[in-house]
């Protein structure tokens, strides 16, 4: 019975994601129809959606749609995969830019954060061994060892506090939902 109920959950979750995709198409169609700003790109979105859906449903061998060599797999490897990876890769540039322009040691707490970040960033690379040698730090008492202390002790303490705090908050919210006190997830009215 619990297996069946979890299947129900999966089916509803799948329909929720279908809802998102269909809603995207609805918004894009509306934008293209009304010729709103950047309506051309809405058409690109619609066409790309239709191409992969048609290829996946009708031209990729049915249930074996993900097998290497199918049209769906080709679209995944050569279009979806590089686009997705590059979107995330851009974050590298933004994190460097943000580090330069926004990361300021304005007070003691921010300085502690910065020092911890430095030690972890350097300690997790072989450069720390060279730097430790330059500072005459003996083997076993180097920047990488300090980085290990930060990750295995201080980070565990802080993350544990956050984890326990979140767990307590989640339990109380779940109880409120089950008891019907919390109804904001239903929206409106």
């Amino acid at each position: 019975m619990s297996n069946m109920f979890s299947d129900w959950f999966s089916i509803i979750a799948a329909c929720a994601i279908w809802l998102g995709a269909l809603n995207l198409m609805k918004i894009s169609l509306n934008k293209a129809y009304k010729k709103e700003r950047d309506w051309f790109y809405a058409i690109v979105t619609i066409i790309s959606f239709l191409v992969i859906v048609i290829a996946g449903f009708f031209f990729s061998g049915g249930r074996r749609f993900q097998e290497p060599g199918t049209n769906f797999d080709w679209l995944y490897i050569n279009i979806y995969s590089p686009l997705s990876a590059t979107m995330f890769a851009l974050l590298a540039f933004y994190v460097a830019s943000a580090s330069y322009r926004a990361f300021r040691a304005r007070n003691a707490q921010a300085t502690v954060l910065l020092v911890a970040a430095f030690l972890v960033m350097l300690g997790r690379t072989p450069f720390s061994d060279w730097l430790s040698g330059l500072l005459f730090m003996p083997e076993g008492w180097q920047i990488s060892n300090i980085s290990n202390i930060i990750m295995n002790v201080f980070n565990v303490a802080g993350q544990r506090a956050i984890m326990i705090g979140i767990a307590l908050g989640l339990i109380s919210t779940a109880l409120r939902v089950i008891l019907g006190i919390e109804r904001t997830y239903l929206g409106g009215d």
């Binding site: 109920f5 299947d7 129900w8 089916i11 509803i12 979750a13 799948a14 329909c15 279908w18 809802l19 995709a21 269909l22 609805k26 894009s28 950047d38 690109v44 979105t45 790309s48 959606f49 992969i52 996946g56 449903f57 049915g62 749609f65 995944y76 490897i77 279009i79 590089p82 990876a85 995330f88 590298a92 933004y94 502690v112 954060l113 910065l114 020092v115 911890a116 970040a117 972890v120 960033m121 997790r124 076993g140 202390i149 295995n152 002790v153 201080f154 303490a157 802080g158 544990r160 506090a161 326990i164 705090g165 979140i166 767990a167 339990i171 919210t173 779940a174 939902v177 089950i178 409106g188």
Partner: protein, 244 residues
């Protein structure tokens, strides 16, 4: 230099450069690639979820695929119609709830989607309450109620030389974990004013949290740079053949 002969690699490379052009400034090529990505992603999930979720769980179980001649296996419909009870017939309710979810597309009858939404929220509340209590609360609390010094590690160190992190873990590790966890939790307790001893402990907690966030930032930088390295290897290696 050995350029790739595959058209797919060239398409992937141009899409990569198209997205990266945003670093210079917003431009039509980037907008095109972005719109393409949005459409392809939505379509990918649409097809994937159909074949891997809805088809086997709903349509096969109910016998709709058998009815349409797409499957050879009897489903609940065929069994029930031939007089044999099949508990999979209850999946029809899941189908109905799924359709009710999709009705959100129509504003006038969108309120119907609150029913399946309530099923999802209620079941996840019940599920998470237990799992988070056990894994994220009890287990973590259990490993915070530990001796102030780690005698096992101290005796292991006594037998040979150790590194800085081993000595720290043995003599100070447990104290730091206990102090950090407690002071961090005290910081998050906003129902009492942070004054006096309570306030002082909360301020200590802030410093532990700052170290945690610094460590997270360091790892975040590592993660983002890794993604960039991966993309550059693709361009210089798979596309241009400049590296192997």
């Amino acid at each position: 230099m050995e350029l790739s002969g595959q058209i797919g690699v060239w398409i992937a490379a141009f899409l990569t450069i198209g997205i990266s052009s945003f670093l210079y400034r917003d431009n039509p090529i980037y907008k095109f690639c972005e719109a393409l990505f949005v459409g392809i992603s939505a379509g990918y999930w649409f097809v994937s979820l159909y074949f891997q979720n809805l088809l086997p769980m709903l349509f096969d179980n109910l016998g709709i695929t058998r009815l349409l001649g797409l499957s050879q296996t009897n489903g609940a419909l065929q069994n029930v119609l031939s007089g044999q009870w099949d508990e999979r017939i209850w999946y029809v309710f899941a189908g109905v709830l799924g359709i009710m979810m999709l009705l959100r597309l129509f504003p006038k009858i969108g309120w119907i989607s609150r029913w399946p939404l309530a099923v999802v929220v209620g079941s996840t509340s019940g599920l998470y309450m237990i799992t988070y209590f056990q894994s994220n609360f009890l287990s973590q609390l259990q490993n915070t109620i530990i001796p102030l010094v780690n005698l096992g590690r101290i005796s292991a160190l006594a037998q040979g030389s150790g590194t800085l992190d081993e000595y720290f873990a043995a003599y100070l590790g447990n104290i730091v974990v206990i102090a950090g966890t407690l002071s961090g939790l005290i910081y998050f307790y906003f129902s009492k004013e942070h004054k006096g001893v309570f306030g002082g402990t909360a301020r200590v907690g802030i410093y532990f949290l700052m170290i945690t966030f610094g460590a997270s930032f360091g790892y975040t930088v590592m993660s983002r740079m890794s993604l960039l390295i991966g993309r550059l290897y693709y361009l210089f290696g798979d596309w241009l053949g400049l590296v192997r």
